[in-house]
C-alpha cells in the first residue's frame, strides 16, 4: 500500500504536515499521520533535512523533526513613526 505513494508526494505531505504543526514531531508521529512506514518516513525526513527544508535532532532513541517558521518582516505603521 505504501508503495503506491510516490516519494515526491510523501515529501510534500511531510512538509505540509509540519507546516501546520505548532510543535516538533517524532518520526513515528509523522509516519502515522502521513501513512508510511517508520523507515520510509525517516528516509524522507533526512533527505528533507539535508536540503535544509526541515530541522532534525536526535534525542536518545527518538528523532525530533520540526519546520522553522518563515521569518517575514511585518511592515506595520511603526515604519512611519516620526
Amino acid at each position: 500500500m505504501h508503495g503506491a505513494v510516490g516519494s515526491g508526494d510523501v515529501k510534500k505531505r511531510i512538509m505540509k504536515l509540519l507546516a501546520n504543526e505548532a510543535q516538533p514531531m517524532t518520526i513515528s508521529e509523522i509516519a502515522k499521520k502521513v501513512g508510511v512506514s517508520w523507515a520510509t518516513a525517516k528516509t524522507h525526513v533526512l533527505e528533507l533535512s539535508q536540503a535544509n527544508l526541515l530541522k532534525v535532532k536526535k534525542f536518545g532513541r527518538n528523532w525530533i523533526v520540526w519546520k522553522e517558521f518563515e521569518k517575514r518582516e511585518r511592515r506595520t505603521c511603526s515604519v512611519f513613526k516620526r
Binding site: 511585518r74 506595520t76 505603521c77 512611519f80 513613526k81 516620526r82
Partner: protein
C-alpha cells in the same frame, strides 16, 4: 493636535463595534499588513501588537480637534459656527462643455482637478469612482489624467474608502496629490497631515476638495429602498438630491423618494457627523444654494483661494458671488444636519468631562458663565 493613543483593538471597540466607523479608509491606508475591509468596515485577520497604531491616530472618529486643525490649515479659527472657516462663498461652473455634460451639477470639482493635472500642479488625484463590475458601488481610484477624472465624475451616494486611494498614490511614489472627499474623508486627511506621531508623506496632498454631505446610504438598504419603487440599482442612470427629494433617473425617466423616507437607509455612522460643508477642506463644493447647472463653492484656505483664482484665470471655471439667499440655503441645510446629529452625539457621548467635572451636555449652559 491633541492626541490620544490607541491601537487596532481600541479602534475596534471604540469606533467599529460602536457603529461610528464612517468607512473612510484612513485606518487601512497605511497599514496593508493587517487591515482589510469587509462589509464596509475595517477588519483584521491577524493580531497587530503595535501599542500606538496609525489606524487609531488617523481615524476621524477616535478624536478630532476642530480648532487645532483650523489654526494649522487656515491660520485662525472660525467665526461662523455653521459653515466653519471661509474666505468667500461663490457660485461657479466648469467652462468646458464636455465637463458640463458629464457633471452632477456645475462640474467644478472635475474642472479643478483637470486644471491641477493639466498644469502639472499635481500628478494624481484620489477620488471615488463607480466600480465597473458592481453598479453604483464607489471604489477608491487614483486619477492621473483628465479622462480619468471625467470617468469618475458625478455624485455617489454610498460610502467609499477614498483614503485608500491616497495611500496607494503616496506609496506608489506620486509627488503631489489632490483629494476629493466627503467631510469625514477631509477630517481624516487633516488628521493624517497633522499627526504628531506618524509621517506618511501626507504633505504631498496639496489640495483637499471637500463635498457637501448630509449623509451617505448603506448599499444594501439603498437597494431595498429602490426595490420599493420597482427600481434595480443597475438600471439607475443618475442619483441626485434636490429640494428634499432623492431623485433617481431610470431610462430617462425621473423617479423620486422623499428624503425623509430615506433616513432608514442612512449609514449609522452618519448620524453622529457634525460637518455638512466639509469644513476643513481647502475648497468645499456642493449644489445647494446655486442655480441648476452651477455649484456652490466655499473657498476656505489660502491654497483654496489660489486654486480657484488660477482655475478662473486659465479658463477652467467661471464664478460669481453667491447670493445672500443662496448662502442662507446652505446654512439652513448645515444647521439642520448639526441640530439633528447633535442629539445623537449627546446621546452617545454621555457626560462631558471638564477637568474634574462631569456635566450633561444639555445642562452645560447652567454651569458656565457667559
Amino acid at each position: 493636535m491633541v492626541e490620544e493613543k490607541g491601537n487596532i483593538t481600541d479602534l475596534e471597540s471604540k469606533v467599529v463595534y460602536a457603529d461610528l466607523c464612517c468607512y473612510c479608509g484612513a485606518c487601512g491606508a497605511f497599514c496593508r499588513e493587517y487591515i482589510t475591509y469587509e462589509d464596509e468596515k475595517p477588519t483584521t485577520k491577524e493580531k497587530c501588537y503595535e501599542y500606538h497604531g496609525a489606524c487609531y491616530d488617523f481615524c476621524p472618529r477616535t478624536f478630532f480637534a476642530p480648532f487645532d486643525v483650523e489654526r494649522a490649515v487656515f491660520g485662525e479659527v472660525r467665526k461662523d459656527n455653521v459653515l466653519g472657516y471661509y474666505k468667500e462663498i461663490l457660485t461657479a461652473r466648469a467652462k468646458d462643455p464636455e465637463i458640463q455634460k458629464r457633471a452632477q451639477d456645475g462640474g467644478v470639482v472635475t474642472a479643478l482637478l483637470s486644471y491641477l493635472l493639466e498644469s502639472g500642479k499635481i500628478d494624481a488625484a484620489a477620488v471615488a469612482k463607480t466600480a465597473e463590475s458592481d453598479a453604483w458601488k464607489p471604489e477608491p481610484f487614483v486619477a492621473t489624467s483628465k479622462d480619468d477624472v471625467l470617468a469618475a465624475a458625478g455624485s455617489k451616494y454610498t460610502q467609499c474608502p477614498v483614503l485608500l486611494g491616497v495611500g496607494d498614490a503616496i506609496l506608489d511614489g506620486k509627488k503631489s496629490l489632490a483629494l476629493v472627499g466627503l467631510p469625514c474623508h477631509v477630517q481624516a486627511m487633516r488628521k493624517i497631515q497633522l499627526s504628531e506621531s506618524f509621517d506618511v508623506g501626507a504633505d504631498k496632498v496639496t489640495a483637499v476638495i471637500g463635498l457637501f454631505c448630509m449623509e451617505t446610504f448603506d448599499m444594501e438598504a439603498l437597494k431595498q429602498k429602490l426595490a420599493e419603487i420597482d427600481v434595480k440599482i443597475e438600471d439607475v442612470e443618475k442619483f441626485n438630491i434636490k429640494k428634499g427629494k432623492f431623485l433617481i433617473t431610470v431610462k430617462g425617466e425621473e423617479k423620486s423618494i422623499p428624503i425623509k423616507d430615506m433616513k432608514g437607509a442612512m449609514r449609522p455612522a452618519c448620524r453622529v457627523c457634525y460637518d455638512f460643508a466639509a469644513e476643513f477642506a481647502d475648497v468645499s463644493v456642493g449644489s445647494v444654494g446655486s442655480e441648476l447647472g452651477w455649484n456652490t463653492v466655499i473657498v476656505r484656505s489660502e491654497r483654496g483661494a489660489e486654486l480657484v483664482k488660477e482655475a478662473v484665470e486659465k479658463g477652467y471655471l467661471e464664478t460669481q458671488p453667491l447670493s445672500e439667499e443662496g448662502i442662507n440655503a446652505v446654512k439652513t441645510l448645515a444647521t439642520r444636519k448639526k441640530k439633528e446629529n447633535m442629539k445623537n452625539i449627546e446621546a452617545q457621548a454621555g457626560k462631558l468631562k471638564l477637568l474634574n467635572m462631569l456635566v450633561e451636555p444639555e445642562l452645560l449652559s447652567l454651569l458656565l458663565l457667559e
